[in-house]
């Protein structure tokens, strides 16, 4: 049953994280981010008690909500954006596929390195870290950068939940997630302040 749940969660995370990378509509991106945290919760629940695992889910959802509510009230900045890399869907798909191939190759090694971690968890964490880093590499916009960082951290949290079950760490990681969302929200509003000033 646990194995089925793990592979289901991996499928969910793959879909959601790829969607976060490919989507150009911020509403869809944030919905997919919230779904991504369900997958993270399923993985973390395998190693942590329900109460502690739920912290990840709730913190992730609150982070998505903070970003969504802030973005809702902000007009997009009309300044030309300097992007150094191609931004099209085909390029992103290709890069995501490359990350997928790398993860497929690296996940079994990670399973060997960390005692007790399953292949699905290894693959899920590496996939999130890879796609999050990819997202960070191709944008410099506050919202996308914040989402990219949240995705990277989500991947790390799956990995770290296997080796560390401290309440303090769970609490501080939740604070970091929420802090990132608030920083992202502030960054979005900072641009808006200038427009209305």
């Amino acid at each position: 049953m646990t194995a089925i749940l793990s592979w289901f969660a991996l499928a969910l995370l793959t879909t959601a994280s790829a969607g976060v990378l490919l989507s150009r509509n911020w509403r869809w991106t944030l919905v997919l981010l919230a779904i991504l945290y369900v997958g993270v919760f399923i993985f973390v629940r395998l190693y942590w008690p329900l109460g502690m695992a739920a912290v990840k889910l709730i913190a992730g959802w609150i982070a998505s909500t903070i970003l969504g509510m802030t973005r809702l009230g902000v007009e997009p900045i009309s300044e030309p954006v300097q992007e150094s890399l191609p931004q099209g869907i085909p390029f992103r798909l290709l890069m995501a596929a490359l990350v997928g191939v790398t993860v497929t190759a690296a996940a079994p090694h990670l399973s060997g390195l960390i005692p007790g971690i399953g292949l699905a968890e290894s693959a899920a964490s590496l996939l999130l870290i890879g796609l999050g880093l990819l997202s960070l590499g191709i944008t410099s916009q506050p919202l996308q950068t914040t989402i990219g960082l949240l995705v990277v951290l989500a991947g790390f949290e799956i990995l770290y939940a296997v080796v560390e079950s401290s309440v303090l760490v769970a609490g501080l990681l939740a604070v970091v997630n929420l802090g990132l969302a608030l920083t992202g929200a502030y960054s979005l509003l900072a641009g808006e302040n200038r427009q209305s000033a």
Binding site: F156, Y160, L168, V175, Y186
Partner: protein, 464 residues
């Protein structure tokens, strides 16, 4: 009474209160006095010992239980508390003159407390989480008022956040190395991850690109405060790893890696500072070279950790004086490039003197605060390798050239302007005191010795 509650809990509580006070001058003075009081308390009051005042006996305990873990501020931490709160207090007192007290002080107080928390938490590995929380608190105050978040701030948050997972995971691997020291592959993996984590955290070349960008976007005084407190905490945190893991401090490759990273930072920062045309970017490059100097000091061996601590206080004073000077002139000119600031020395003589004194101090000119630590480092480097000493000189020469170019730009006047001081009285007072302090630390470096001598006692193994 409990030390972590006094030096971590109380400042965070005060930070919340301060954020509701609308008067900038009051915020600046209140926080300055409070931080200096905390520093004074740490200097005078013993921890874990009974202090008798007349009939009253007080004992401050060092341990505070927090979510199943401990925050420990024992007697060896007192010097850190004195330095952190003492210097933060001075930064806060100067914040009003820099025009940023409402932005800097509440967040700055909480950041200082969180970074003390980072050094107090047990297991010490969790410090990465406290540092990350402090960084997230710092990000909003770095965004200039009425300006969109620039790429520098975004990159700062990104790079500093990426440090945390690397360090936490490396810490877990290091524990594995401790139980099976013969596993060389595991040792290499953990060392590589740890190195990457600290490369992000300390903005080691080439991960320092955000610094010049951020220096252009952020208010100079806030940038300076963070450039002092964040690397200092990260370096102390890094020393904790060497203290904890014997195999790490005895690793053969470690001095070479640290030396290479240090020289890369010193030389690249120096070269860029020499060719840079913007005053605030020169500050950023110089800050990179300062971290490079500390890494070089670290590469000289764990028996020379005292050299590292020599840099802490002059760095803080140098940055404070430099950024206060920049803040004073920033609002008067369109930008801080050499053309825009030409001749400002005639209108803002003290601010310009402060900028130049701090710049010359950073390149180790005699009689200034930066001279004693650089001389000590240069001398020790020369004992190990003359080529290393030569490269060190090249790095310092780059900063010196940047300082000379700044001097030329600031004193060259295109039109006839009479000398007059347009700084207000508080700026004059603070800038004058800051310049005097730079000279005092250069002439009498031993005045901070009582503080620094107890620093290594924080580290059981490194203190020898």
């Amino acid at each position: 009474m409990n030390a972590p509650l006094i030096w971590i809990g109380l400042p965070i509580f005060l930070a919340v209160i301060l954020s509701f006070i609308p008067r900038p001058r009051l915020i600046s003075r209140l926080s300055g006095v409070f931080a200096l009081t905390l520093a004074g308390l740490a200097w005078i009051v013993p921890i874990d010992d009974v202090l008798s005042i007349g009939t009253i006996s007080i004992k401050i305990t060092s341990v505070f239980q927090f979510l199943g873990r401990q925050l420990v501020l024992g007697a060896p931490s007192r010097s850190v508390l004195v330095v952190f709160y003492g210097l933060s207090g001075l930064w806060f007192l100067g914040s009003n003159a820099a025009g940023v007290s409402r932005r800097l002080v509440p967040a700055g107080m909480a950041i200082t407390a969180l970074l003390i928390g980072a050094l107090a938490v047990k297991p010490f590995l969790y410090a990465a989480l406290f540092i990350e929380t402090a960084i997230l608190l710092a990000a909003p105050i770095l965004i200039a008022p009425r300006q969109p978040a620039g790429r520098g701030v975004i990159r700062f948050v990104t790079y500093q956040t990426l440090a945390m997972p690397f360090i936490l995971f490396a810490g877990w691997l290091l524990a594995g190395v401790e139980t099976s020291p013969s596993d060389l592959a595991l040792a290499k993996q953990s060392a590589a991850l740890l190195g990457l984590g600290f490369a992000f955290l300390l903005a080691i070349f080439p991960l320092s690109t955000w610094m010049p960008m951020l220096s252009e976007e952020a208010p100079p005084y806030i940038f300076g405060f963070l450039q002092w407190i964040l690397p200092t905490t990260s370096l102390i945190f890094g020393l904790g790893f060497f203290d904890r893991y014997a195999w790490l401090r005895q690793a053969e490759l470690l001095p070479q890696v640290l030396r290479m990273a240090g020289f890369l930072m010193l030389i690249t920062g120096g070269i860029w500072a020499a060719f840079e045309k913007r005053l605030e970017r020169i500050l950023a490059y110089t800050s990179i070279t300062e971290t490079g100097c500390v890494l070089l000091a670290l590469s000289l061996g764990m028996d020379k950790t005292q050299l590292i601590f020599l840099f802490f206080v002059p760095r803080s004073f140098g940055l404070a004086v430099w950024t206060l000077g920049l803040s004073t002139i920033k609002d008067q000119v369109k930008s801080l490039d050499f053309i825009a600031v030409q001749g400002l020395a005639r209108r803002y003589p003290l601010a310009v003197s402060a900028i130049l004194a701090a710049q010359f101090s950073a390149c180790g000119i005699p009689l200034l605060a930066g001279f004693p630590p650089r001389l000590a480092l240069w001398e020790t480097l020369a004992e190990t390798s003359l080529i290393a000493a030569l490269w060190f000189g090249i790095g310092l020469l780059g900063i010196f050239l940047g300082a000379v170019r700044s001097l030329t730009a600031l004193v060259t006047s295109v039109e006839l302007t009479y000398w007059q001081s347009q700084e207000d009285w508080s700026q004059r007072l603070l800038l004058g005191a800051g310049i005097a302090m730079l000279f005092l630390l250069g002439l009498l470096p031993q005045i901070i010795q009582p503080l620094l001598v107890t620093f290594p006692s924080m580290f059981e193994q490194l203190s020898g």
